[in-house]
């Protein structure tokens, strides 16, 4: 069955039935998280920094990947400047390491949203929240495996480089979706001094 676009949109945005409020317990309770640090103001600022560090990590990582698996169609991957790779890879590892406290703080700032009520307002809301799983899992995987590799702790059974390379696409893709869905809220929060 192929749905025409208007029908699809209405299905995606149709409100889902509300779960019984008796289920709204524990962390789901209203007002459960009262710290002002759990705010869009903080999240947007940390998010902006993470956007920059992840962007730098992604681009320098791609450069490293293509230097190591040099495609024959890329003669622009040249031997000059002599120390370019030294710079880009130092930057890659430094921004990756700096991302660790930023990500931990960001996750702490927004984790009350995990207990949002109702858990899914509509199908599109559910899909958007699902994509956050990819973003959080991907980010955690990249930073943890990257850190392990930097300190020479090769405890995982898989090969680091392909796993780190392919997960980068998943993570950056999920990050772009996240930026797209949060752009309005983030802009407003950033304009608030």
């Amino acid at each position: 069955m192929v749905l025409d676009p208007p029908t699809m949109t209405s299905i995606l945005h149709r409100p889902l039935p509300k779960p019984p409020s008796a289920l709204r317990r524990g962390p789901f309770r209203e007002g459960r998280f009262s710290s002002p640090l759990h705010s869009a103001w903080v999240a947007a600022r940390l998010g902006r920094m993470l956007g920059i560090t992840f962007g730098v990590c992604f681009l320098t990582g791609l450069y490293s990947h293509f230097l190591q698996h040099q495609p024959h169609w890329a003669p622009w991957l040249t031997s000059r400047p002599v120390g370019l790779y030294r710079f880009t890879q130092g930057l890659h590892v430094a921004t990756g390491l700096a991302s660790i406290p930023l990500l931990l703080a960001k996750l702490w700032t927004v984790y009350p949203k995990l207990w949002e009520w109702p858990p899914a307002r509509s199908l599109s809301h559910a899909v958007e929240r699902g994509s956050l799983f990819l973003l959080v899992a991907g980010s955690g995987f990249q930073l943890v495996t990257g850190l392990m590799n930097v300190v020479g702790w090769y405890a995982f059974k898989f090969f680091f480089t392909p796993a780190h390379y392919w997960t980068a696409y998943i993570t950056i893709g999920a990050m772009l979706i996240h930026i797209g869905t949060k752009l309005t809220v983030a802009r407003q929060a950033l304009s608030d001094e």
Binding site: L37, S79, A94, A105
Partner: protein
């Protein structure tokens, strides 16, 4: 704006604390690649000046199991149809290059290398200018026992099969009898204990 006043850490204070943590981590590790800061970097996994011949290594000769094959008197470097002993290599024109080893793991350090230009060897072996070549190690197994060299890198006057580091013969851990060292190339591709170079 000041909703947090009187309730512990302010939003601004929290951001500054997180920023400071990121800054401390950066300074504490960046010395593994920015030499002058190495004293400030107690958490750096590597120190740029610590290792055989004052240069770090990731894989030692013992780790690569080449302790015997690398010092075997029957060792020959094969380039195309050429077969060269260590003595032959030493008698060829030697060139110097100051090049960093830049590891994918984030550390880097500069070495003063000397040896034979790869392009000189390729010319002697009659390998064309536009050919990619593969450099193979004595190391038998591992992810990086060979590396491919693009024509641009292979023909670069700074790309050497180095025999010496800092004026001394290469330490086994640095790839004795000879290793590839080229400009702007990840450390894992600077193949050590080279036994063969083939045109692709």
């Amino acid at each position: 704006m000041s909703e947090a006043a009187g309730r512990g850490l302010s939003r601004r204070g929290f951001l500054n604390a997180v920023g400071a943590a990121a800054g401390v981590i950066t300074v504490a590790t960046i010395g593994e690649t920015v030499g002058p800061l190495s004293r400030l970097s107690p958490l750096a996994p590597r120190r740029a000046s610590v290792g055989p011949q004052h240069l770090p290594v990731n894989k030692s000769g013992a780790g690569a199991r080449v302790e015997q094959s690398a010092v075997d008197p029957t060792y020959r470097l094969v380039v195309g149809s050429l077969s060269l002993s260590v003595g032959d290599l030493q008698s060829l024109p030697q060139h110097a290059a100051i090049l960093p080893i830049a590891c994918v793991e984030g550390w880097s350090a500069v070495g003063h290398w000397s040896g034979i230009r790869l392009r000189d060897l390729l010319d002697r072996a009659g390998i064309d200018h536009d050919r990619w070549v593969r450099v193979e190690s004595l190391e038998r197994s591992g992810l990086y026992v060979t590396s491919e060299v693009s024509p641009t890198h292979a023909r670069d006057p700074l790309t050497l099969l180095a025999l010496r580091l800092g004026g001394e013969p290469l330490a086994l851990d640095h790839g004795y009898p000879c290793r590839l060292i080229g400009p702007n190339r990840p450390g894992v591709l600077q193949t050590k204990w080279v036994r063969r170079v083939v045109a692709l």
